[in-house]
């Protein structure tokens, strides 16, 4: 294709550069908005992959003695379900939103390190492809998403004498994949910390920063301190597997528990990495759709920081059954109980934000309210799990599966969809269909409860986790069937969303710049924003700079609030 370049009255034809082509604009971009979209789209693709894996699991478990999947395949599928959802869906999705929205919210032109930003994305994509390609070799990781030693060192989890199978590279795919993804996370985390601390518009003190930016900042610090633990553990694993070391092998003086301590020192902060940005999104959406500011801003912000610090003190609550000394168990029970407090404070503040408001029950708000309702259940069964002797019974059972899915699906995923419906208009200039969105919301709400509530009962009835089938006659069959029906209900909701998404991209209602009459700076731009974001530096005199601009007579800073 030819382009014309005009220089002082002389016009020269030249070939279009790759960076000017449609593909090139995406492949070579360093713009945080494009990178954010790439993260989000990639993450959504992996959501579909992980969701398919979930449906396979639920189909196999719908009935006792299921024959849908062999144990070898099932064990790969459940491992990859967890690994994909955590590392390739939720984390990149939240980084994607952080990338797109955070610089706009602080009135910045871009992230502090645009090329590092692009690097982080491409490493994620490569890591995700690498990890998922393992299925093509029938060597997908099969040791669980947590990949405990020494099972991970028996290579493909064969019987002790390896009569019936040959060792495989499953655990190598996992360790190398996770190392690569860790690099992407650290790159992103560094970028967020510097951007948020150094590129805020004048007048935007930390005390006036949107909650989503606060939570992204805390999450970035968590990543910086947690990912190295995982990387170290993975490197030691690769050394054991290939270079003859024995870090995790008891017979040579090593200890399998070393893996668990290193892994969960990552793994627990990780779950807060998966939820804190979502807390931030909810803290933006509920105020806008309640038509009043967030209640207790300072408490919500600082409870996020408290959760960040405390998240490093609770890791062994994943290890209550391993035989730790009782004093140690009591310490971790205490720290786990403590961390529930700042979380409860947030929930109360969100409820108080709605109280006395004028609730606009559009789809982002439906998902946000659904989030609070579902995350509460996850929090309650989480506190139950902190009761150590009760945990001895239900750890490693379906009760924990219920807990983690209420907080990760009822929590993170509901929050992510709230964010998608909220910020889609800013990113595309179109609104996502309201009716289809409502349908998706109700399918999700019913589906999540139908899938995961019965799992509490299954755990109480003695069903362990990670089993590829179960016998009849134990009273487990009905609840498993209900869970499978629920899973397909959720899947229907996902299909509704995909339909809505495609329809809205093509012919959705134009949104304008500020469809929700929102409060924060990202809405003070065109939809989508120009590549430079803001033509002039925004004026920030309170926590709601855009609200102030639109309502100069009752601006927050005029009313004596922050």
């Amino acid at each position: 294709m030819a382009t014309r370049t005009v220089v002082e009255g002389v016009s020269i034809e030249r070939r279009k550069r790759f960076s000017e082509s449609y593909l090139g604009q995406w492949v070579m971009t360093t713009d945080h908005k494009k990178i954010g979209i790439m993260y989000i789209v990639t993450a959504f693709f992996f959501f579909l992959v992980g969701g398919t894996e979930a449906l396979l699991i639920r189909t196999q478990l719908a009935e006792p003695n299921g024959k849908v999947l062999s144990p070898e395949v099932y064990n790969q599928v459940f491992t990859m379900h967890g690994t994909t959802m955590i590392f390739l869906f939720v984390m990149p999705m939240l980084v994607g939103f952080g990338n797109y929205v955070a610089p706009l919210m602080i009135g910045a032109r871009d992230m502090a390190f645009p090329r590092l930003n692009a690097f982080g994305y491409w490493v994620l994509l490569f890591g995700g492809i690498f990890l998922t390609s393992s299925f093509l070799f029938n060597a997908a990781p099969n040791g669980g998403w947590f990949n405990y030693a020494p099972l991970s060192e028996l290579t493909s989890g064969c019987g002790a004498t390896a009569y019936t199978c040959t060792p495989g590279p499953n655990a190598d795919f996992w360790a190398l994949g996770v190392l690569l993804l860790g690099v992407s996370s650290i790159a992103g985390a560094v970028n967020f910390v510097v951007t948020i601390l150094r590129l805020r518009a004048p007048g935007m003190t930390l005390n006036r920063m949107p909650l989503f930016v606060w939570m992204t900042l805390v999450t970035a610090f968590l990543l910086l301190f947690a990912i190295p633990s995982l990387s170290a553990a993975s490197i030691l694993l690769l050394l054991d597997r290939h270079l003859g070391t024995h870090f995790y092998q008891a017979a040579y003086g090593g200890d399998p528990l070393l893996w668990q301590h290193l892994f969960w020192s990552f793994g627990h902060p990780e779950v807060y990495i998966l939820i804190l940005p979502v807390f931030g999104m909810i803290s933006e959406i509920i105020p806008v759709f309640s038509r009043k500011p967030l209640f207790g801003y300072t408490f919500v912000a600082w409870s996020g920081v408290a959760i960040g610090f405390l998240s490093f003190t609770v890791w062994a609550h994943h290890m209550f059954a391993v035989g730790l000394p009782p004093i140690a168990q009591a310490f971790f029970a205490t720290s786990t109980t403590l961390i529930a407090i700042p979380t409860a404070v947030k929930v109360f503040n969100w409820c108080a934000t709605m109280w006395g408001g004028k609730l606009v029950l559009k789809v982002p708000m439906l998902f946000a309210i659904g989030f609070v309702a579902m995350f509460l259940i996850g929090g309650l069964n989480g506190v139950a799990l902190a009761v150590v002797p009760f945990d001895y019974q239900v750890t490693d059972s379906y009760f924990v599966v219920a807990h983690l899915h209420y907080v990760l699906f009822g929590g993170s995923v509901f929050g992510i969809f709230a964010g998608i419906y909220y910020w889609f208009p800013k990113m595309t200039g179109k609104l996502l269909g309201e009716r289809l969105g409502q349908l998706q919301f109700w399918l999700f709400l019913v589906g999540v409860n139908l899938t995961f509530f019965p799992m509490h009962l299954l755990g109480l009835m003695g069903m362990p986790r990670r089993i590829y089938t179960y016998p009849s006659g134990l009273g487990w069959s009905l609840d498993n069937l209900l869970a499978t029906i629920g899973a397909f209900t959720i899947a229907t909701g996902v299909l509704v969303f995909l339909f809505n998404f495609i329809l809205s991209l093509r012919s959705g209602q134009p949104s304008g710049d500020d469809p929700w009459d929102a409060f924060t700076l990202e809405w003070d731009t065109t939809s989508p924003p120009a590549v430079y974001n803001f033509p002039t530096l925004p004026v920030v005199r309170s926590r709601r700079p855009f609200y102030d601009k639109k309502n100069p007579d009752i601006a927050d800073w005029k009313m004596g609030t922050h």
Partner: protein, 374 residues
């Protein structure tokens, strides 16, 4: 106006649907047949279950209060055409302090009960039966070190009303030992000497499971706990301590010959009196498969993969389907042991039971012999 009436119906309709849906979720709450942690048969599980009920009450209170607040917010404050613009309240410090302190009090109460129960669950001093539980991939071995090192598998026999101490051993991967109706689990970790205890208050059979993902057949590493009266237990123990007879008659003799010879069984399985001088022989450790000395006295085989729904009524040897009538197994397709010997990899793929093809005649002879191992 039509609207208000319709809205009331819609509200009730929604409420009824929600209640109906929720009641489905509590379906199958009847835990009659289940190895439920709430259907306790011993003091350890009993205390752990009491904690559950306590937690449930606290959780329900919080659930009703907070979900109620959410629903109240939606019902009372959702935007209506004549809703006023809300007051732009920023916060209330007194409220913040209040709702930080109140949950903290609740939570610390829960913590106190937790810690008190934890320390109260220490093993009581005094007499106990000690069993070594060895986790293999994928079956449980049970040794009785103080009773001639009797070595069994899959079924754990214990006396009622007696403290049973379980010493957990693994030389391969991490497993976890769980008997929901008797006690919470403890992990079985290579290189660690984890020990746990339980006591059963009533005789009966209780389901046990491996509860830590340990590879391909983690799902089939069940065991059962057979709780006997002290007299029955003593009988069982002394019987287990006897060697198996080194000779047999009729079909069983062919079976014994197969076991020692062409069948290849003695390469992996020890039978005291046949290919193993005693439970404590040094060669015992060379057998990678379960000790079969009193195989016919066990309920479960192969990690529980062939447990029948009538598991509480008889063990495999009494299963009518496995009785030999006129030189034939009564019902080969429903006799678990027959199917296992016919094609173990089809039943438990990945297990170490890799055997050559056996003819139906050979399988019948082996079953006849194994039935003598009472």
């Amino acid at each position: 106006m039509r609207m208000p009436i319709f809205r009331k119906m819609k509200r009730w309709g929604t409420l009824c649907t929600v209640v109906a849906l929720f009641s489905i979720l509590f379906a199958a709450c009847d835990t009659g047949n289940s190895p439920s942690i709430l259907n306790t048969a011993g003091p350890v599980a009993g205390q752990e279950a009491n904690l559950f009920w306590f937690i449930l009450i606290v959780a329900c209170i919080v659930f009703v209060v907070v979900e109620g607040w959410i629903i109240l917010n939606v019902v009372r404050f959702h935007a209506r055409p004549n809703s006023p613009e809300p007051k732009q309240t920023q916060g209330n410090n007194a409220l913040e302090i209040g709702w930080t302190i109140v949950p903290s009090v609740f939570l610390f109460l829960v913590l106190a009960v937790t810690i008190r129960t934890m320390f109260g669950l220490a093993q009581p001093p005094g007499n106990h039966v000690t069993v070594r539980a060895v986790g293999h991939q994928w079956w449980w071995e049970f040794d009785y070190p103080n009773d001639g090192n009797v070595t069994t598998a899959d079924s754990l026999y214990v006396p009622v009303n007696t403290v049973v101490q379980i010493d957990l051993v693994s030389t391969n991967v991490i497993h976890s030992f769980w008997i929901p109706q008797l006690t919470g689990k403890t992990d079985d970790i290579p290189g660690h000497n984890n020990t746990m205890w339980f006591k059963a208050n009533t005789t009966g059979i209780y389901r046990g499971e491996c509860a830590e993902y340990c590879g391909t057949q983690h799902a089939h590493m069940d065991f059962d706990v057979v709780v006997l009266s002290p007299a029955d237990y003593a009988t069982w123990l002394s019987q287990q301590q006897q060697a198996a007879s080194s000779s047999a008659s009729g079909m069983a003799a062919q079976g014994l010959a197969l076991f020692k010879g062409a069948g290849g069984c003695s390469g992996c399985h020890g039978i005291v009196g046949v290919d193993l001088p005693s439970y404590t022989s040094s060669t015992a450790a060379n057998f990678i498969g379960p000790n079969l000395t009193h195989f016919a006295s066990r309920h479960l085989i192969a990690g529980g993969i062939l447990s029948t729904t009538n598991i509480h009524q008889y063990n495999w040897a009494n299963d009518p389907a496995c009785q030999i009538v006129n030189g034939q197994v009564a019902s080969p397709s429903t006799c678990g042991l027959y199917q296992w010997l016919l094609n173990p990899q089809a039943i438990k793929p990945g297990s170490d039971m890799v055997i050559g093809h056996l003819t139906p005649q050979q399988i019948t002879e082996l079953i006849a012999y194994l039935q003598t191992l009472q």
